[in-house]
């Protein structure tokens, strides 16, 4: 078919501006809200948020094309080409419509954050392609069976329900079979988990194959059996891939991606922050100096790898390279990340010490009081500030007396400093 004819008569042509406007105006706020700055997997992961709105448009356009074929009665006119060859030029604009919708979504997430380097996760884009094609072909089949006025809205609603409803079902991993599980992706130390992406792709491929079979093969009984078999295999395979995944599945990022610089201290950050590395290193050196002056031991290697190893310290994984983030991150790295194992079994008296200790460390490191209060709480920060008015030796003793309480369940912390006069600490 001539492409000009296809474009002129296709439903995708007049749906395209409507879909683009829908994504641009209604979904935009949600798209840019969750993007991690400068990180390609997050750009594509956040854009996947628009997928439940783009697939109904593809399904409705596919149904429109299918009902056009049915209205033209093509099958009774001894066609020279098979069903799939007839459907293909009609479905291509529908696929282009879906890709346009997702491209608009990616454009918005890209402008929200401009990734400096790295590769876009093309597996996610491939998953989009396959899911959109599956919706278009399923809609096409529906449009061939039912009249247009019923098929198009039905395809739209069904596609939306099938994409959005599994999010309410238990167990949690069912939703990854239709959405690909990349919605919550990703902070800087995470990357896309291939399993939910593969799960959604497998199910969509099964739908495509079953639809292609229904379009080409003759012999109704055989087609029905084969299509049912294909769908069953697809569901089982997709379920097996998604089985047991949590609600937001991610894979930890490989630590070989970290870029390091400096010697005393050596700071290792994710490549997205590498342009800020000089500033981070300067602030880190100052922070280390202040903490060492207060009597604490800060290693010479500071890294964003969660399992830092000997001689190194984990400084958190934040995306904005502000001075406060650096200071609070280094300070927090001096405390244990998790409560001790005994805290699950019984009481943990050291729990109340975590806030004041963390706040004191952050204030000593030079972080601003507002940020510290936002992170550890107003009261804990106020207590830590009061502690800071005491002589240095007393502060050190206070810290050394209370810090062991975070490691076991028997030490009771003594947060109040004896003999203090400022502000009525008692």
């Amino acid at each position: 078919m001539r492409w000009r004819t296809v474009l002129r008569s296709s439903s995708a042509t007049w749906l395209a501006p409507l879909l683009a406007a829908f994504v641009a105006f209604l979904v935009r706020d949600d798209l840019v809200a969750g993007v991690t700055a400068g990180y390609w997997p997050s750009v594509f992961g956040a854009a996947t948020f628009a997928l439940p709105f783009v697939t109904p448009a593809c399904a409705a356009a596919g149904a429109w094309e299918g009902s056009r074929i049915a209205r033209g009665n093509v099958a009774t006119w001894a066609p020279a080409r098979g069903g799939l060859a007839i459907a293909w030029p009609l479905l291509l604009p529908v696929l282009a419509l879906g890709l346009l919708g997702m491209a608009v979504a990616v454009a918005f997430t890209l402008t929200a954050t401009a990734p400096a380097g790295g590769m876009p996760p093309l597996s996610v884009a491939a998953m989009w392609l396959v899911v959109l094609l599956a919706n278009a072909m399923a809609g096409f089949l529906l449009g061939r069976k039912l009249p247009l006025v019923i098929a198009a809205p039905l395809a739209l609603i069904l596609s939306f329900v099938l994409t959005a409803y599994p999010a309410t079902l238990e167990p949690l991993w069912l939703r990854h079979m239709v959405t690909g599980g990349v919605n919550g992706c990703c902070s800087l130390d995470q990357t896309i988990n291939w399993r939910p992406v593969a799960s959604a792709t497998v199910l969509a491929l099964a739908v495509i194959l079953a639809a292609a079979l229904a379009l080409t093969a003759t012999g109704k009984r055989a087609v029905r059996l084969a299509a049912t078999g294909l769908l069953t295999v697809g569901l089982l395979g997709s379920g097996a891939l998604a089985y047991g995944l949590p609600a937001t599945p991610t894979t930890p990022r490989s630590t070989t991606a970290l870029t390091c610089s400096g010697t005393e201290p050596q700071v290792c950050v994710w490549p997205e922050l590498s342009s800020h590395l000089p500033t981070i290193q300067r602030v880190a050196a100052d922070t280390r100096q202040r903490l060492q002056h207060a009597g604490l031991n800060v290693p010479a290697k500071l890294t964003m790898a969660e399992h830092a190893g000997t001689g190194a310290q984990y400084i958190g994984s934040w995306e904005q390279a502000t001075a406060d983030n650096v200071r609070i991150g280094i300070a927090a790295g001096l405390l244990p990340a998790n409560p001790p194992a005994c805290a699950d079994r019984g009481e943990f008296p050291g729990e109340v010490a975590f806030g004041p200790l963390g706040a004191w460390l952050s204030l000593t490191a030079g972080a601003s009081k507002g940020e510290v209060a936002g992170r550890y709480g107003q009261q804990e920060t106020a207590l830590a500030a009061r502690i800071r008015t005491a002589p240095a030796a007393q502060q050190r003793a206070w810290f050394q007396r209370n810090e062991p309480a975070l490691h076991n369940c028997t030490t009771k912390p003594q947060l109040k400093l004896t003999g203090q006069t400022a502000g009525g600490a008692q």
Partner: protein
């Protein structure tokens, strides 16, 4: 009369109405989460979109005739179509009220209200751009309202009548207004103003 009823797909419409009432009574309270990150989490109750189905089947039934023949027919076709639409509204409203009174299912009420409002909107659009685009538009309307029709506090915007709760008088008034205008257009206008895709000719 029997032929006319069959031609207008009235048995199919009735069956769909009964099935929809049953489904929305069973699906009471179940909702589809509309993905949002910021703002109030949207959700579409099943009852709010099930009402589309009988409206769409009725719309199809209205299109099944030959437009040219009906315009020159001796017996007026358009008042009969209007009577069919009004009978649909009455039957649906009565069924929904009875089911709600017996079993306390407010979702069935909102399904009936949404169906009536969608029918009105579909009749308006059908007079303007034809039935195909009208059908897609009324299917997209609940999605549009779920995506953009909520205020920051979580209540629905005044214009987003499909997602209003079942006891909302404003939504009922809006649906009724749409039905009124739709019926007027159905009575006065035979062919759509613009029929870009040449349906029904």
């Amino acid at each position: 009369m029997i032929w006319w009823l069959k031609a207008r797909a009235v048995p199919q419409v009735l069956a769909t109405v009964l099935a929809t009432v049953l489904l929305s009574a069973l699906a009471q309270g179940h909702a589809i989460p509309v993905p949002t990150i910021i703002g109030p989490s949207g959700s579409l109750l099943f009852g709010q979109i099930l009402g589309l189905l009988p409206a769409v089947v009725l719309l199809w039934g209205l299109e099944r005739g030959d437009v040219m023949a009906e315009e020159v027919a001796v017996r007026p076709a358009r008042p009969r179509a209007l009577a069919l639409c009004l009978a649909y509204v009455v039957v649906l409203a009565a069924l929904a009220t009875v089911v709600h009174a017996l079993f306390d299912r407010p979702d069935v009420l909102s399904m009936a209200r949404n169906s009536i409002g969608s029918l009105g909107a579909a009749l308006i659009l059908r007079a303007l751009v034809g039935p195909g685009i009208a059908a897609i538009a009324i299917a997209a309307l609940p999605l549009l309202c779920a995506a953009a029709g909520r205020r920051p506090g979580g209540t629905a915007q005044p214009w987003a009548w499909p997602i209003h709760p079942a006891d909302s008088v404003l939504a009922l008034a809006e649906a009724g207004f749409l039905l009124l205008v739709g019926c007027l257009l159905l009575l006065c206008w035979g062919r759509p103003v613009v029929n870009p895709l040449a349906l029904g000719d």
